[in-house]
């Protein structure tokens, strides 16, 4: 069961059931706290963000998002009809920052932490049957090449969050187990 930090509650929101859209509240106070201070935070501000934009920021590296582009997605495309792409061509490096104005403030997004189980297949014990008798053979942990970065826990959590946001398998599969009103797994 996941335990939200106060900041992640601040940033995220209940999701309304539209197929490809994820709605985040940008309330200033967390859901729990507003029960006490209703007079201060009685208005909620909803900001609709596309799933592909919310999760597409991880694919552009250190590049700044500078505009809308041709359809709002974070793509660099030279197009005579849309001359100004949404992201910069090159990444920001340590010595070069292409623009002092950072558009991070425009679409801030934070992924909450989700606990998942992962299994690694390194160093498992294998039974080999032979005519003499069974032997236990251990596969050394250096046999396989290192796992890619997408196997890391943080990456898998981000992937899982993206599957849930995109409503994958909502009827009988993954998203059917997620409670979108309360933004947590169904009890």
């Amino acid at each position: 069961m996941l335990i939200d930090s106060a900041e992640s509650i601040l940033e995220r929101s209940p999701c309304i059931a539209q197929r490809y859209y994820v709605i985040f509240t940008t309330k200033l106070l967390a859901k729990l706290i507003t029960r006490k201070l209703r007079t201060f935070a009685s208005r909620t501000v909803y900001q609709i963000q596309l799933t592909r934009n919310v999760h597409g920021r991880s694919r552009i590296g250190c590049r700044d998002v500078v505009g809308f582009g041709h359809n709002g997605s974070y793509v660099y495309k030279d197009d005579p009809m849309y001359p100004f792409p949404a992201i910069r061509f090159r990444e920001n490096t340590a010595d070069v920052i292409w623009d002092t104005l950072n558009l991070e403030l425009r679409d801030r997004f934070k992924v909450g932490e989700i606990e998942i189980e992962i299994r690694t297949g390194i160093g498992t014990m294998v039974d080999t049957a032979s005519s003499v008798g069974s032997k236990h053979v251990e596969i050394p942990s250096t046999l396989y090449s290192p796992l890619p970065d997408s196997f890391s826990k943080a990456s898998q959590q981000a992937q899982l969050r993206r599957y849930i946001d995109a409503r994958m398998n909502p009827v009988t599969g993954l998203s059917s187990l997620w409670d979108y009103e309360n933004d947590m797994w169904k009890v």
């Binding site: 505009g67 005579p80 009809m81 849309y82 100004f84 061509f89 104005l101 558009l103 425009r106």
Partner: protein, 150 residues
């Protein structure tokens, strides 16, 4: 005094009545909203670009809108846009905008584009912006030679 006032009131009432009858008699042809004059359009965009706190996002939004319309932006608008680029320290955006303006000239590029560059030359000198031609961006960089022209 009263007579003049009353007579004026009568004329006003009559004209009002006349207006109402005229409207109900014939439906005038209306356009979608009011048509903006060219100078109003220019002033609107110049004022937008001249905002001191303008954002890179908003500059691109306005430039994209301009490039979406069936017109070549006025040199004054281009000047204001270049100043806005200077304010946000985005040199690449200025060059890209000039390329977009050249593209907007369409088939009449040989007549319109030199005029535009001539009009904005003081601004280019003041801000230190090279034209795309000076940077060599008017020729394709990675294009292969056409085999039929070898």
């Amino acid at each position: 005094m009263l007579k003049s006032v009353s007579s004026r009131f009568v004329t006003v009432a009559r004209s009002a009545l006349l207006k109402t009858t005229r409207v109900s008699a014939a439906v005038p042809v209306r356009r979608h909203g009011t048509v903006e004059s060219d100078s109003d359009f220019d002033c609107r965009y110049i004022a937008y670009f001249n905002r001191p706190d303008i954002d890179g996002w908003e500059i691109r939004k306005a430039m994209n809108d301009l490039c979406g319309m069936d017109l070549v932006p006025d040199p004054q608008i281009i000047t204001a846009a270049l100043h806005a680029c200077r304010r946000v320290n985005d040199y690449a955006l200025a060059i890209r905008f000039l390329e977009a303006v050249k593209d907007k000239c369409g088939p009449k590029v040989k007549e319109i584009y030199p005029y535009v560059i001539q009009e904005i030359q003081p601004t280019l000198v003041e801000l230190g912006i090279d034209t795309p031609e000076e940077l060599g961006y008017d020729k394709p960089e990675l294009a292969l030679q056409n085999v039929y022209e070898m």
